[in-house]
Symmetry: C2
Subunit: 194 residues, 2 copies
């Protein structure tokens, strides 16, 4: 009998490096040669772990999102008080934005939505993300409502427009729901402006 395969172990070992590379360079600019070099193996080996470059990228998307979700859980675990959970996450996100190259990966993936698998991976990811956010928005946060500056509200609207377009691109909501969502959120942002 021959030696036992360690493909799974190696996949697990190299995945963080693959994630890091895609986060830095995005999809297109990441070459298989670059990946191999950083992983300190030949390209050949990578193709024994994943069928093609796209599979490497999809694996990276899943892993990066997973890491983010785990980070969130960890934060919430430290803070068992039911209140201020959202506030805690918001503070964390505000602080660490763009740290994991998460969105660089997302942007480059969004540039490839003509590919079905890529599209599906994105849809899965956004659905999970949105669900995660939803679960944390507990009701009863009435408190004293702060007013927004015009500039802040404008950024909020630009963000809203962006996510709306992503929703269109990925068919995350039907047109009717999407429009209603857009109107509601925009309304809150605008009317909350001092």
């Amino acid at each position: 009998m021959p030696r036992p395969s360690q493909i799974d172990e190696q996949r697990k070992k190299l995945l963080p490096i693959v994630c890091q590379t895609f986060s830095e360079l995005g999809y297109r600019r990441t070459t298989t040669a670059e990946l191999a070099q950083r992983c300190e193996v030949r390209e050949n080996i990578l193709y024994r772990l994943w069928p093609d470059k796209k599979a490497m990228f999809l694996a990276a998307i899943d892993d990066i999102f997973q890491a983010r979700a785990e980070k969130w859980e960890q934060i919430l675990a430290d803070l068992p008080s039911p209140e201020s959970r959202v506030e805690r996450l918001i503070a964390y996100e505000a602080e660490h934005q763009g740290e994991f190259g998460f969105y660089r990966v997302i942007f480059t993936a969004l540039a490839e939505t003509d590919d079905d698998e890529m599209r599906e991976a994105l849809v899965r990811m956004y659905r999970q993300f949105h669900k995660l956010v939803s679960q944390q928005i507990t009701t009863g946060h009435e408190e004293d409502r702060d007013h927004l500056t015009v500039s802040d509200a404008a950024w909020g609207l630009v963000g809203l427009a962006t996510i709306s377009n992503i929703i269109v691109e990925l068919n995350l909501l039907g047109p009717r729901q999407r429009k209603q969502m857009f109107a509601s959120v925009a309304q809150v942002l605008v009317s909350g402006t001092a």
Copy 2:
């Protein structure tokens, strides 16, 4: 004397086709061969109009944004009443989201932010966009504040996270301002949730 150059005219004539192509396919997937075919000229000719593919893309970004801004002006011109200007634009955006392939261009551009010119074009565009939005958010929209559903608020937050990452990526705000903006908008979205 030879015949006068009509380069400017031809540039202007072909630009819409170039825009359309980039909107459909994004940056990378748009090949110069494809552009030439759609423009019904040889690749050669395109390279007499623009120095390289990137220049064609940058021209497209500018033009697409310009078209959007003009559309907005046109909408506001039809509606000289100072009130409900924002509402009108919001309604328009909600209705026509994703129609011009605007964001497909933006996403693929965001995948190329390692390139300085590309980056600068995006920064210019976002600055203008945000300014435009800001100008329209008139104060005094107190009215009766609608409450958001949890789902809508969550989408708002995802959009906020997205734009925040874009802001980081493009250095549109300093960290301090960005965090403050994030917190304020998130606060309004969360506390506005029924």
